[in-house]
Amino acid sequence: MSIQWKEIQETFINSLLEEEEEEAIRIAQDVLSEGARPEQLFESCVTPSLVEIGARFERLEIFLPEMVAAAEIVQAVNEQVIQPSIESSGGEGVGSQGKVVLATVEGDLHDIGKNMVNLMLQVNGFEVIDLGVNVSAEEIVKVAEQENADIIGLSSLLTSCLPYMRDVVELLQAKRLREQFEVIIGGAAPTAEFAHSGGFDAQGHTAAEAVTICKSILAGVKE
């Protein structure tokens, strides 16, 4: 049996961008009925399709609402087709790339940049727990601990909120949890110099950079 993954990807991407959830589910079901394993469907169709959609957003060929809709449809495909198929065959499910706790730090109410990072991480296979805006260091650390996150991602547009970013690192140090999490920062305010002096693991400005950083951090951790 030879599955034409490239063609399937194209039709799957179209269904996501046209916001046709039923069509996306049908495509996924058809692929499985042709003999593909659910893990293959995920790795050869779903993941590359989402990466392509993320790239189109990076080039602004599509906009945030289309990316949100695509992520939601993929969630439905995963829940209704992929995971049940894996479970029925006794498998353990498709793991995420890693878990990220995301927040705009205390004092800052801006959320669009963080929301874009959230979506770009999701479409690239990360599990994201988004705590919203104006979130205290205590809340961020508490959730990261509870969720056993791999990465804490902090955003701020405002220079006067940078001290609240540093509070997260200092709180982790005080609780002897610093080694447990990678802490990355982004938004308009933090510079590379601030990231270095503040003891953060990485810094970036765009949603695409956030994905690259998270992937490389976790690749390093796994090595």
């Binding site: 906009f63 609402p65 004092g107 109410l109």
Partner: protein, 462 residues
């Protein structure tokens, strides 16, 4: 002294809307109340233009349809209060009254340094006020005063806007902490010293920019601080959201009878979509800011989702159309704002600034403002020379039509569009200006003169 054109009962009714409106989940707001209706309104009102050939639209019918689309969004979506999770709604009749009550002019500044801002329509040959400054760009303490003084001495600017202090008296500034307040008062001391030194003590000044919280406004727009006649400001969050902080500021400006400039930055590529969608959001946003925050002048600061600039070609065209929609159909006094990707020492900064303001002025803005060089992201990367250039092109464009502006703006966009894939931060203030004379270096001055000459050859009447 400037006073708001609204009565006390109306002022209270706005605050009531934030407390008593429909409860809406914030996750639903962006998609159900912004994205979906905007997509539908683009179709309903047939909002489109040829992006390959139009830089400054000249289609009045399209501008008027866009106004109705924006009003439709304003009436049916309204504003979201992020603290109470309430949808604040106005009827069409209420919004029509709000717009009908708009003043036709407003005075900013005091005494001989006061300047009147006049409502303008597209292609109206009426003077445009110009506000320039380091626009919230972070600056180290020792650089704040000389930089501010150099802007204050720039006679082409009617008002100046402040930078943001990176520290205050050597201390770190933490939003809402006590040093937030100390920084704002330091800003007051330095800017008033600078305008006095420049011989323009009554000039309108914009701040406080060292605090992003309402703390700055509530403390320093008061006795001994910023004056009611200064360039005070307030804003919406994206998309069509307001916070208690914003409502606190609007209440303070109401009670102190202060002039207030309002701004809202729709995100190009965000929940409002592309050029068509952000144009609709812009029209709705300016109307709703007048209704909600009682501003005197209004700025659409549409930002690119990844670059954060306001000079991306499609953004300029979209904003130009939205400004025409507003300036043809209301008495709102609007502005154009340049937030280029390039910084001082880079020639592209001039092309980006010229494209933005020639499009804006011919589309009827009352104020030109900027320049937030290199998107304001790099400490100290700004200079008054790009503001002088902004004033040059602004006053030249007062005499131009949209049809004359269109090919020139397209030519300007062609100069920088391919390179606008990343920020070109250029050089900091102290490398493009002499710290002794506070004048541009010969190299920077020469680059400015080259571009001015180029624009004159293209037919811009500088």
């Amino acid at each position: 002294m400037t006073t708001h054109k609204t009565d006390f009962d109306y002022f209270l009714s706005v605050l009531d809307k934030a407390e008593k409106g429909n409860y809406v989940d914030e996750n639903d707001w962006d998609r159900k109340h912004i994205s979906k209706p905007i997509k539908a309104l683009i179709k309903k009102y047939d909002i489109s233009w040829d992006k390959s050939s139009v830089a400054v639209p000249t289609d009045d019918g399209l501008a008027d349809r866009l106004f109705e689309a924006g009003m439709d969004l304003a009436v049916n979506t309204g504003v979201y209060c992020i603290d109470t999770h309430r949808q604040m709604l106005w009827t069409r009749e209420e919004l029509d009254k709000v717009l009908a009550d708009c003043p036709l002019d407003v005075v900013v500044g005091q005494g001989k340094d006061a300047v009147t801002i006049y409502k303008r329509s597209p292609e109206e040959d009426k003077r445009v006020a110009v506000i320039g400054g380091p626009y919230g760009i972070p600056v180290v303490e020792e650089m704040f005063y000389p930089m501010t003084l150099s802007y204050a001495k720039e006679t082409s600017l009617d008002f100046i806007e402040n930078a943001s202090l990176l520290t205050t008296h050597g201390r770190e500034i933490r939003a809402k902490g006590p040093y937030d307040l100390v920084a704002c008062w330091q800003e007051v001391d330095l800017i008033f010293k600078a305008i006095k030194e420049a011989g323009r003590p009554g000039m309108g000044v914009g701040g406080p920019n060292s605090s992003a919280s309402a703390v700055g406004v509530l403390t320093t727009v008061s006795h001994g601080g910023f004056r009611p006649s200064d360039w005070n400001h307030n804003s919406f969050l994206s998309e069509l959201k307001v916070s208690y902080e914003d409502l606190l500021r609007s209440a303070h400006f109401f009670y102190t009878g202060s002039y207030c400039h309002n701004f809202y930055n729709p995100i190009f590529g965000g929940y409002a979509g592309g050029g068509e969608g952000t144009a609709i959001a812009t029209v709705a946003g300016m109307i709703l800011m007048r209704a909600c925050l009682h501003g005197d002048t209004f700025n659409p600061g549409t930002s690119h989702a990844h670059l954060s600039c306001s000079t991306y070609p499609e953004i300029i065209t979209s904003k130009s159309l939205a400004l025409q929609a507003l300036n043809r159909n209301t008495n709102l006094m609007t502005s154009s704002f340049s937030r280029p990707t390039a910084g001082p020492g880079e020639k592209d900064i001039f092309y980006e600034v010229a494209a933005m303001h020639i499009a804006g002025v011919t589309s009827g803005v009352a104020v030109a403002k900027g320049v937030q060089s290199a998107t304001g992201r790099f400490a100290g990367h700004c200079s008054p020379l790009e503001c002088r250039f902004m004033a040059d092109v602004t006053h030249a464009a007062e005499k131009m039509t949209r049809a004359q502006a269109d090919p020139i703006v397209m030519k300007l966009m062609d100069k920088y569009r391919d390179g606008q894939v990343e920020l070109k931060k250029g050089m900091p203030f102290n490398e493009v200006y002499s710290m002794e004379t506070l004048e541009p270096t010969p190299e920077w001055q020469g680059m400015y003169e080259d571009v001015v000459d180029e624009l004159i050859r293209w037919g811009v009447p500088i």
